[in-house]
């Protein structure tokens, strides 16, 4: 018995963990970071931590545009760029930022023997040359109009520190140039950051930031409304009312970069091959009703693959298709299906906000115009595996696309390019659409650096998409956060949580 008493006393002695109070901002996400190397992961929760420790070369603004941050880049011609590095920036350990460090960053990303998860964004770069203490010349193998937007993924890591300590140590004890310094990481429990008082862009207002992984959604809400944490991610629409009623916290939303839609296998011989049928399906689905009843109002109906944040978006061509079942029936009759038809539809469960329920609502609405969709729900990893291998067992599938490059190319080329251009690239893995003119426009937009020309090309491409209706266009998703009222902070479309932009008001 005495031994047990001793054991209890021993555990009593252990320290108390983080609590949202005073100068500390506590952020709760569903999972822990997997690494703190800012360019070797592909998860938002990890990016949320690293983006507070590191700076990117170009910074994404809340409206989706970008601006120079750790330096500036100028196009010299179609294939060469001049990079100028900001002077007077220091890493947390005192190392100075200069052209050599930037070159080291490129070398690390472009090393073919040890690809990092972000390497894929910089593939077109052929050579990087240091031409002055703060100047570099970049040569690309083909025109690279996405270079500037991709530089928002260029999180700058220290050269000397990594060379001295090794990449593995760095990934657990990061040193960056950003507004917060790394303090400690207790795996799956908490990551502590402290303000970098010498930050080149100004002193951070919040002195301490703690990230806590809390996987269960209802536990996150419970922590929020009792003041245990300040910001929680992925608040369920059903929980909004109880959070707002708590008096302590409130729900804050932002339209996200992610569109949700139903992709159709238009290649087959069946009814989905006929554009009239596809248009009919778009008129048959009541987007507004789905947003209101399934998403608690947290979405915006959209009638094209893009949304307002994207370069290339066009307001007229992206107007949602109105809900018009009579018109849908008429179109179906014209196409030779007056009594409708049957097809199979897939949906993931738990990947997007109420994804399965959205798919069920779509099926229900299609039934009203006589189209019978047989729904098959799957776990995400096998679902996405089938999509990436082009082995989808259904005729249609619900999916979302978050375009974090904020440029039409990432959506239109990746999801719809059909490989109809002679000598051009083959059809992309996601694309089932086949429109030679569309392919032409999208490919041209990849090879000009002049942005106004690109804008025109995307407008023409969107016209083709609107006419071909290769998907059932649904809505732009909204991200919902729960935030303690003492915190002044607005959520961003790219899902990043920057403590530097936040403030605690008492």
């Amino acid at each position: 018995m005495r031994k047990i008493t001793l054991l209890v006393l021993f555990i009593l002695g252990a320290s108390f963990s983080a609590w949202a109070a005073g100068d500390t901002l506590v952020i709760a996400q569903g999972v822990d970071a997997t690494t703190l190397d800012p360019v070797n992961h592909q998860e938002t929760p990890t990016g949320n931590v690293t983006s507070n420790i590191f700076d990117n070369f170009y910074r994404r603004l809340p409206n989706g545009k970008y601006q120079p941050w750790l330096g500036e880049v100028k196009a010299l011609d179609n294939l060469t760029w001049e990079m100028t590095v900001r002077k007077g920036v220091k890493f947390h350990d005192g190392e100075e930022l200069n052209a050599d460090v930037i070159k080291f960053n490129f070398d690390r990303l472009l090393n073919p023997d040890k690809p990092l998860k972000y390497s894929t964004y910089f593939k077109p770069i052929k050579s990087v040359e240091v031409v002055g203490p703060y100047k570099l010349k970049i040569t690309t193998s083909k025109p690279f109009p996405l270079f500037l937007t991709r530089l928002t993924y260029f999180w700058v890591v220290p050269k000397k520190y990594i060379e001295d300590k090794g990449a593995a140590y760095f990934a657990n004890h990061p040193v960056g140039t950003g507004p917060y310094k790394f303090v400690k990481w207790i795996k799956d429990q908490e990551i502590d950051l402290a303000a970098n008082e010498d930050y080149w862009a100004g002193k951070p207002k919040i002195k301490k930031v703690v990230f806590r992984p809390i996987p269960e959604a209802s536990s996150r809400v419970a922590e929020l409304v009792t003041g245990g944490v300040d910001i929680i991610t992925n608040l369920a629409p059903e929980a909004i009312d109880s959070v707002n009623a708590s008096g302590v916290a409130e729900a804050r939303t932002v339209p996200s970069i992610r569109n949700i839609f139903v992709e159709l296998d238009v290649k087959g011989k069946g009814p989905l091959h006929d554009p009239k049928v596809r248009l009919a399906l778009n008129y048959a689905v009541d987007k507004e009703s789905i947003i209101k009843h399934v998403l608690g109002g947290n979405g915006t109906a959209v009638g094209c693959p893009l949304n307002t944040y994207m370069f290339g978006y066009d307001e007229d061509l992206c107007k949602p298709f109105p809900y018009d079942p009579a018109k849908a029936k008429k179109l179906l009759a014209e196409a030779g299906y007056p009594n409708g038809f049957s097809f199979t539809m897939g949906s993931p469960s738990g990947r997007y906000l109420n994804d399965r329920q959205v798919a069920e609502a779509v099926v229900g609405q299609l039934a009203k115009v006589g189209v019978k969709a047989d729904l098959r729900v799957q776990e995400w990893s096998s679902y996405v595996g089938q999509i990436l291998q082009r082995k989808i067992p259904t005729d249609a599938w619900l999916i979302g696309w978050g375009n974090a490059q904020f440029d039409a190319d990432n959506t239109l080329f990746t999801l719809l390019y059909g490989g109809n251009v002679k000598g051009g690239p083959k059809r992309t893995v996601f694309s089932y659409f086949s429109d030679p003119q569309f392919d032409e426009y999208v490919l041209q937009a990849q090879s000009v650096v002049d942005q106004s020309k690109r804008q025109e090309l995307y407008k023409k491409a969107l016209e083709r998409v609107r006419a071909g209706a290769p998907w059932i266009f649904l809505y732009q998703q909204e991200d919902i956060y729960g935030v303690n009222k003492r915190v002044k902070w607005q959520p961003r479309p790219d899902e990043l949580i920057w403590a530097f932009d936040a403030e605690i008001v008492k």
Partner: protein
């Protein structure tokens, strides 16, 4: 005796090999992990490169051979996500899980055994009815629901205890109750029926006839004999405790292995899942061995040869 232990240890090797093979096979069937490792918009070329870098483009027998060869050296490879040695990631998280399971078991024994004894001794009384009703409830309540109710009452309403996380003794209380309740109930019920049976037996009657005190009769003569099935159940329940930890750890954001491996499975982080399966197989095999050895101490008639 020694040969018995050696034979059992050899059996452990076979069990671990079987578990490791099963883990490899099931994961291999579950699909290509590279799909989930790169952003969706990464090109096929980048995917192929990564597949090659991890050796997933090799035939299955080559992959399996490599895996076993490394396993013999205690090398599980590196996590596909964090690129750190998988075994290290698993072992770091075993600590909190074992701590929770240990406290859950302690809670269950300290509460379940006395409750069972009291119910047996006071057979037919209101006390028995009450304890056994509670035990039945404890066995039927879903772990998930219990955890959320505890959070609701002690975290949200009363503000007595922290809702989630780890780091102090207060953080242990709700998860311990959540994980331990089912086991407590099983132990209480088993202890009760065991003790009732023993109280009716000849040696207890003899002990009473000798004039021994009631307390000595119950605890020394009845309980010790009733303990064999209880010890068996404790050994078996450790497996249940560890798997129950998956749910408990998720609800309370406890930094243990259960919740970690759940994420690793959904992300197809092969090395981490494989390392966890092997570590668990080893752990359970040893616990079973210890339980079997405990019989020797409890019942001198048991002999292994």
């Amino acid at each position: 005796m020694l040969t018995y232990i050696i034979r059992r240890l050899l059996l452990v090797i076979i069990v671990v090999w079987g578990a490791a093979t099963l883990a490899f096979g099931l994961l291999y069937l579950s699909g290509d992990p590279v799909n989930l490792l790169l952003p969706l918009d990464a090109g096929q070329e980048a995917r192929a490169e990564l597949r090659h870098a991890y050796g997933f483009d090799q035939p299955i027998y080559v992959q399996y051979g490599r895996y076993l060869l490394k396993l013999i050296h205690g090398d599980f490879g590196t996590s596909l996500r964090s690129e750190e040695p998988a075994l290290g990631l698993v072992l770091v998280r075993m600590g909190p899980t074992l701590l929770l399971a240990g406290w859950g078991l302690l809670f269950a024994v300290l509460l379940g055994v006395p409750a069972g004894v009291v119910a047996a001794v006071r057979k037919g009384s209101l006390v028995e009815l009450l304890t056994m009703t509670l035990a039945l409830l404890g066995q039927s309540v879903p772990v998930f629901w219990l955890g959320l109710m505890l959070i609701l009452v002690f975290g949200l309403r009363l503000h007595w205890l922290p809702i989630s996380g780890a780091g102090s003794w207060k953080h242990l209380i709700l998860p311990t109750i959540t994980v331990g309740t089912f086991v407590t109930a099983s132990i209480a019920r088993l202890t009760r029926s065991g003790v009732i049976q023993e109280l009716r037996s000849d040696h207890v009657r003899t002990a009473r006839a000798k004039g021994l005190a009631g307390r000595v009769v119950v605890y020394k003569h009845a309980l010790r004999n009733a303990a064999i099935p209880v010890v068996t159940i404790i050994g078996l329940q450790l497996g249940a405790l560890l798997s129950g930890a998956v749910i408990t750890e998720t609800i309370f954001a406890w930094p243990g292995i259960g919740r970690f491996v759940l994420i690793a499975v959904s992300q197809r982080d092969f090395p981490v899942v494989q390392a966890t399966v092997v570590v668990f197989a080893l752990l359970l095999a040893f616990v079973n061995l210890i339980v079997d050895l405990a019989y020797l101490w409890l019942d001198p008639r048991v002999r292994y040869s």
